[in-house]
Subunit: 225 residues, 2 copies
Amino acid sequence: MLLFDLTTRHGARPSPFCWRAKLALKHKGLLHDEKACHYSDIRSIGDGSFRTVPVMQDGGVFVGGSLNIAEYLEKTYPDTPTLFPDDPHHRYAKFVEAWVDTSLQPQIFHTLAYDIFLLMPDAEQPYFRKTREARLGMTLEEARDLAPSKLPAAQASFLPLRRRLQEQPFLCGDAPAYADYIAYGALKWQRLCCDRELLSDAADPIHAWFSHIDGLATAHAPTGS
Amino acid sequence: MLLFDLTTRHGARPSPFCWRAKLALKHKGLLHDEKACHYSDIRSIGDGSFRTVPVMQDGGVFVGGSLNIAEYLEKTYPDTPTLFPDDPHHRYAKFVEAWVDTSLQPQIFHTLAYDIFLLMPDAEQPYFRKTREARLGMTLEEARDLAPSKLPAAQASFLPLRRRLQEQPFLCGDAPAYADYIAYGALKWQRLCCDRELLSDAADPIHAWFSHIDGLATAHAPTGS
C-alpha cells in the first residue's frame, strides 16, 4: 500500500489532507509506504486523472481524496478498527470535514500562506502563487503583512473543537477516530509550516488532544521516500 | 407540557435556543403549551434556579437548556421519533451545537445586537445592554455602526452548513432531526429580529432546507400566551 504525500523543499510533509489519510491507515493498522510528491508530480500518479493528494494505491486500485481513502479502507478492510464509530452514514465525520475545510483551515491559511510559499521548491512557487493568490484575493506578500491581523479569527475558529474537548477527550469520545484526524491535520499543518504558536493557553484541552494524536501519527514511521 | 419561551416587546419569539426545544417537541409529536417570558421573569420559573430559557415543565419535572430538553424527551418518550438518528452518544448533534454556539450565532450576533435591543421592552433593555455589551466588548451603538463590516464574516460562518446541504437535504440525511434544528434556530432568530436578508443567493440550498424546517416549526402552533 502506497500513499502519495506532498513535500516541501526541505522534505517536511505538512499537507493536512495527507495527515488525515496517514492517520486513517495507522488507525487500521495497515502498513504502507509513502511517496513524496510536489504539485507538478501529481499528474503522473496512476492514470493521470488526479489533481490533488493524498492518493492511495492499494495493489492496482488508486483512490484520491482523504475522505474517499478513509471510506475505501472502511469498506475494504472491515475487520480493522472503525474510523466512524457510531456514525454509519459518516455524517458526523462529514460535518467535521465541512467545518475544517470551510472554516478552520481557511482561517489558518490566511496566517500561513506566505510561510507555505517559502517552503515550496523554486519550481513549484509559481503554481502556488497563482492558485493561492486567486483564493486569497490578494498577493502572498499582502497576506503576509495582514497575517497578524488575521490571527484572532484563526484562533477563534478553534472554538467548536475546544468546546467539545472540554467535555470529552476526543471528538469521537474516549478514543480518537476519523473526525479527530480531520481536525488534527489542520493544526499539524500549521505547526509544520511555521514556528508561531497559534494556541498559547497552556491549559487549552486542545494541547493534550493534539499530543495524543501526534503520538499515533509519528509512531512507526513508514518507509519510503 | 409547558415550554417557557422568550418574547420581545411586540410578542415575537426569536430565541434560537427556544426554537431548538420547540422543534424537538414537534419532532416527537408532543403537544405542549408555551409561556412567554422576559428575562426578568426567568427566576420565577420552577424552583427559581433557572437563569436562561428554554425551560420545559413536564408534569412536576422542570428541565432547562435546549440540549437537556432534547435528551430528556429522547429518554422519557422512547417510542416517539428519535432526535438523534444513528447518533447514540449525541456526538454529532453536540458538535453541531458547539459550532452553532461558538461560531455561527456569535458571528450573526455582531450584526444583530442592536436590532435585538430595540425589540426588548423598556424594562428589559438595561439588562440586555449590560450583559451584551460585556460580551461584545463595545457599546450596542458601536456594534450597530460596525454591523455592515461584520456581515461578510457572518455570511462566511454558514459555509460548513452549505457544504453539507449541497450533498444531502438535511444535516441528518433525508429528514431533519435535532442537529438541523440547532442550525435552523440561528437563522430563524436572525430573520425574526431584522429585515435584512443574510443569504442573498436564491440558489443557496440553505433556503430550501430552512423552508422545510420552518414549515414544521410553524405548523400546529401551540396554544398558550
